[in-house]
């Protein structure tokens, strides 16, 4: 019980720092890949502080409470996950959180955020099957949706779930808003929608959004770790390595791929999900 409590508190307190650090690292590595020096690693935190100090400008009053709800639900999802509860339920709550982000975007009736919001919905639709199937994959092998049970297996589950792992990493590109799937909002300065769903978020609202993204990144990487962690304590170290590798892979993809059309994104993601998770599923069924 105390262990769970500690892990939840760690998530609430440390996840933003970890997420911010990873983003700093991301910017640095991306810059190096592009032949630039890049900002300092702590730049995301400087930005955040600056954002909170700015004048609070809004287009629609309700946006703030919707973003707050988005963040609260995201943190709640993370707590469920790191508290070792039901993974499938976690993903369902995550999709509810995503709905609040969509509301925060479209409530302004601004053209750029509205299109961004619509694309965000499409992204949600593209990645949701793979996300749910990830939970199904774990259930298939361990007989439980509980994160607690999933991490207490004698071997790393990636051995049995490579297809599910691949599908998950594929949609991670969408979740982390990386090119070629950064349709709704991009961290690069070159998107046709100005800043997509975040166009009308200023000052503290944007800060809220950024922190929530960090929480989400840590949660998603936590799911990556689920594939690796087992009863052996050393597996945690392996999980960290795999996470870093996956993150580096996402940065590489981000810097080498051009953005695709939204419909192409949905098609690609669904086909990959169907094929890799589907084949893995079939094999597992036959072996059992």
């Amino acid at each position: 019980m105390t262990a769970k409590f500690i892990s939840i508190m760690c998530y609430i307190l440390l996840a933003p720092f970890l997420g911010g650090l990873l983003e700093g690292l991301d910017r640095k590595i991306s810059a190096r890949m592009q032949g630039r020096v890049g900002p300092p690693i702590l730049q995301p935190f400087y930005d955040l502080v600056k954002l909170t100090k700015k004048q609070f400008i809004i287009v629609d009053r309700s946006q703030h409470f919707l973003l707050l709800s988005y963040m609260a639900l995201m943190i709640f999802t993370g707590c469920m996950f790191f508290g070792g509860t039901d993974l499938l339920m976690c993903f369902f709550v995550l999709s509810t959180a995503a709905v609040f982000l969509y509301f925060a975007a479209v409530i302004t009736s601004s053209p750029y955020t509205t299109i961004g919001g619509q694309r965000e919905l499409l992204q949600d639709m593209a990645y949701e099957p793979a996300l749910l199937l990830t939970a199904v994959g774990f259930y298939l092998v361990t007989g439980s949706f509980n994160v607690d049970t999933i991490i207490h297996t004698p071997y790393s589950l990636i051995a049995k779930l490579p297809g599910f792992f691949f599908a998950f990493v594929f949609i991670l590109t969408i979740k982390m808003r990386k090119s070629p799937f950064d349709e709704s909002a991009s961290h690069h300065a070159h998107q046709e929608l100005v800043k997509g769903i975040t166009t009308e978020m200023g000052g503290r609202n944007l800060a809220l959004y950024n922190v929530t993204e960090w929480y989400e990144t840590v949660l998603m990487l936590g799911v990556v770790a689920l594939f690796i962690i087992n009863e052996n304590p050393w597996s945690y170290l392996a999980a960290v390595l795999v996470i870093l590798l996956v993150y580096f892979f996402e940065i590489l993809v981000d810097n080498t791929c051009a953005r695709v059309k939204t419909t192409t994104m949905v098609k690609m993601t669904w086909i990959v999900t169907l094929l890799s998770a589907g084949v893995n599923f079939l094999v597992l069924m036959l072996v059992h």
Binding site: S69, L73, D86, T96, T108, M125, P129, L132, V136
Partner: protein
Amino acid sequence: MPVIPFLIIFPLVMAGLMFCVRVNKVRNAIAYVGAVVIMIAVGVLIVGWAAGGYRPIELYVHTEIADKVILCAELLLMVQVTFLSFKYKKYWVSILSIVPTLAIAWLELFGPEMQEISHIYIDHLSILMCIIIGVIGSLIVVYAVGYMHGYQHYHTNIGDRRYYFFMVLFAFLGAMFGFVLSDSLLWIDLFWEATSVCSFLLIGYTREPEAIKNSFRALWMNLLGGTALAIGIIYFALTHGTVSLHDMVALGAARPGEVMIPVALIAFAALTKAAQLPFSTWLLGAMVAPTPSSALLHSATMVKAGIYILFRLAPAMSGTTTGIMISFIGGFTFLAASIMAIAQSDGKKVLAMSTISNLGLMVACAGVGRPETIWAGVFLMIFHAISKSLLFQDVGATENSIHSRDIENMHGLLYRLPRLAIFMFIGIAGMFLAPFGMLISKWAALKASVDENNILLVFFIVFGSATTSFYWTKWLGKIIASTNEAPAKDITKRNEMISITIHGVLMIALCVLFPILSKVYVGPLLREMFAISEQTLPTGTLDLLIVLVVFVFAVPFFAYLYSKKIRANKKLSYMSGINTGKNHAFTGSMGQNEKLVLSNYYFKNICGIRKLMLPSQLITAAVITVMMIFIVGGAL
């Protein structure tokens, strides 16, 4: 219990009264009284059943007179259908009524001696159905009184036949009560045909060419199901010498091979009634009728009859070829209909598509036939009944006020028609947001289909769940988007609003209370059905759900209170510097003001009905044909 025949006969008497009384005010008053009496009668039924310790009750073993009445009613329906088919020159439809009716009549009059059975059976499932029919159905009647008044006022080209409309509404409720309370398959057959004919009459209410065309489509599809049902009943009666539905299910659960054919035929009939692919088009065509009839068909009656009978058959279908067929059709319909719903911008069409889609999930749950999936299915059914009834009534009222039911025209509805928009929001959110209705049911359905190694169903559910969220969320976004348009005049009548409000309250109550409902009602229901004792959902999950429910309500509420106090500087939205100053227009290239129009994604060319309906119908029709041949061939 005299309340049971009362529940079946009273709505029929009301129907007669509705037909005879031609003074609108008097008839409306009688309709209100009738609706309230039905609700009270359902209450009395529950109390009577509860007094017996919530145990299943079997009643009415000797019913010679009633049997004769039922047979006469059946022949009367046949005459009615034949008359209308000839009147509108759809001669062949009458065959689908004449043949099964005469066959059933032959069985009853000249067939072998049947075992004595109780004709009425009451348990948790039938009581639940009675509550849905009694409460939702009666509320729809209340709503209809106000709606039809406005409807006839605006549609002057349509003859005022409200006496007829209300007659059919009440007759429908009576038939549904009879259907869910009967255990004798012969009685079930009559009420089945009665609901088919009632829906046919409702759809054809306006007597316009399209309405007549659609009503006959609904009729022949449902009569086809009725024919399958009749064949199933006769086969079962001839081979086993009884016409008890419970005997059939009990036999099927113990030795599935013996009742394979009748179960498959009845399940097939249920597919037509539940508007599953390839028979979904009748429900889509039913939209030509006035809104209350859509609300009735989609929520409390008709389609739920199909689901009800599938739930009854579930123990007999579990693990059989029939079960696999049903779960495939259901899962496929869930996905295909939800994809087609994306392309609809007409509010009622989205609702219709989502009904078909959600029914698909329920059908799939019944097909898998495990306690978890029935748990999920029952909850889906309850949530769906309230939510759909609420949404149809709300969209109907909205259409009266803003003269459009297109979702694109609902931009900023929250500020233009706040009352209706809030209820619309509640209805939609209750349908799919975590942790309510849909999601928790999907959780259980996914778990069970993985347990069953039903890989196809798993994929149908995960993909269908993604597309379902997409079309609902974009609708919700449209409602809350800010607007500068002036508020519309809310001309919703008081009785319409009463019905909508009660639905809204029920919806919220259900969201908050469903973990309790699961424990005290659905749990016993499953124990009755499957003779098991364990709790279906692990208690940990239920506790988590309660926390979740509180959280999902509390967070936005407190966040809203907090954000009201914030001091902020309001600015215009970004339009590359050409915002004209009120957020609703921009400066065009010629210097003129262009109105800003925001639209949702629909992908009509990818997922429209025209693109997908025919292929999906072909696939499902092929699967049903092949599987039925296998089932019948394998059993013979």
